[in-house]
Point group: C2
Chain length 209, copies 2
DNA sequence: CGACGTTACTACAGCAATGTAGGAATTTCC
DNA sequence: GGAAATTCCTACATTGCTGTAGTAACGTCG
């Protein structure tokens, strides 16, 4: 099938693979967020970009490579920001630290909500499934590294090693919940208030671990 | 393409659509849980069942109808059990109620983990997307109905109406986290212990809402 | 045992997406 | 201005899945 029956469209600019690649990823991200990773077909990306499919193939070997590159780019962007957020949350008063942490985290999500949606609220496609898992694992790993010393220092949690996986699971999920609250009802809450609510609540929760 | 090049397989039993239908749903569920809803193709279901595709089409009008029926069946199973679990969690002592609630909930998940996985940790397929949303909404709705009176009666939470969506989000996520802990690391925790941990923690969290 | 209704199988047509080859337009460089 | 390189487009072959038509096996009832 031709891309356009008798194209009305202007011939696309002569950018070349190097300069085209980021545009392709942007179009793919928009599609993935709006309609799920399954909707990221070469054809759909090309259409969205006002370009024909071979142009996309010039940027990425095949569909799998495109998805992987997308997950990698967004994962790195998110991870870098989230790490900075975690590192910014230090201090002596647990509740204050938790609140700062959730606030910083929510600022990150508010800053690049699509990266978050891609990695945490869409389907892990058979294509970049490994990349998805990897990106999420890295996040969980960093969460663990932040959580463990906090829990030992402040509350001396018993049997921490055994509980830790479950606690990390809860922590990650609370972050997802906070992010969803922000992303799905953007009018109701500012990051500051929402961060305070979640920080206060989850601080209490972990103090009872 | 023929279903088998020159079928070695025995001819399948003469069951007829009525008796075949539940088998088809079982096969579809196994596929969806193992490889995502996207992997639920008519052909894959038929193969998994040792049957040819037209047999599946005799049970369900098309792929969409199959997915919808699957989500509906599993959603109802889960909902009925989860409702019973919530209703079993009543009393005067908040922490005890929370613990009973999470325990009962985890028992439900342990009882039909695949139903849970299908609805909450797989991709909402473009096919039954509405059914997915609906099933999840019903669960959230029931959570809200349980949470609201508890929060007013025990802790007289300020601005409850405004906070409630965020609190429900957190509550649902905590349930997902608990379920994941159970399903992904089935050796580490029994439902009783895990329910107590989560119940204690989340009770504290909500008391600080 | 023989005819009829039910069930499953084989084979086909259609569609949508993948990935590729060769030709046309544009830019660059002399 | 003209050749060469780059980039994009049209067109095709292939694959995988959907949904359907016609045929062969099975079971049941007279």
């Amino acid at each position: 099938m031709a891309d356009a029956v008798r194209s009305e469209r202007e011939r696309a600019a002569h950018l070349g693979p190097e300069r085209r690649r980021p545009q392709v990823l942007d179009a793919a991200l928009a599609l993935a967020v709006h309609s799920g990773v399954g909707a990221v077909t070469i054809g759909a990306v090309a259409d969205n970009l006002g370009v024909t499919r071979p142009v996309v193939y010039a940027c990425f070997r095949d569909r799998a490579a495109l998805i992987e590159a997308l997950v990698e780019r967004e994962g790195e962007r998110l991870l870098a920001n989230a790490l900075a957020a975690l590192h910014s949350a230090r201090g002596d008063d647990p509740e204050a630290v938790f609140v700062r942490g959730y606030r910083a985290f929510l600022d990150v999500v508010a800053d690049c909500p699509d990266a978050w949606r891609l990695l945490f609220s869409t389907a892990p496609d058979p294509a970049g499934a490994d990349k998805f898992r990897e990106a999420r694992l890295v996040m969980a790993d960093n969460a663990t590294r932040w959580l463990r010393p906090a829990l030992t220092a402040w509350w001396d949690v018993a049997e921490l090693d055994r509980k830790l996986p479950a606690l990390v699971e809860l922590f990650m999920s609370s972050c997802e919940a906070a992010a969803r609250s922000l992303v799905d009802h953007p009018d109701g809450w500012r990051t500051q208030e929402l961060g305070e609510l979640y920080g206060r609540m989850m601080c209490r929760a972990f103090s009872a671990a």
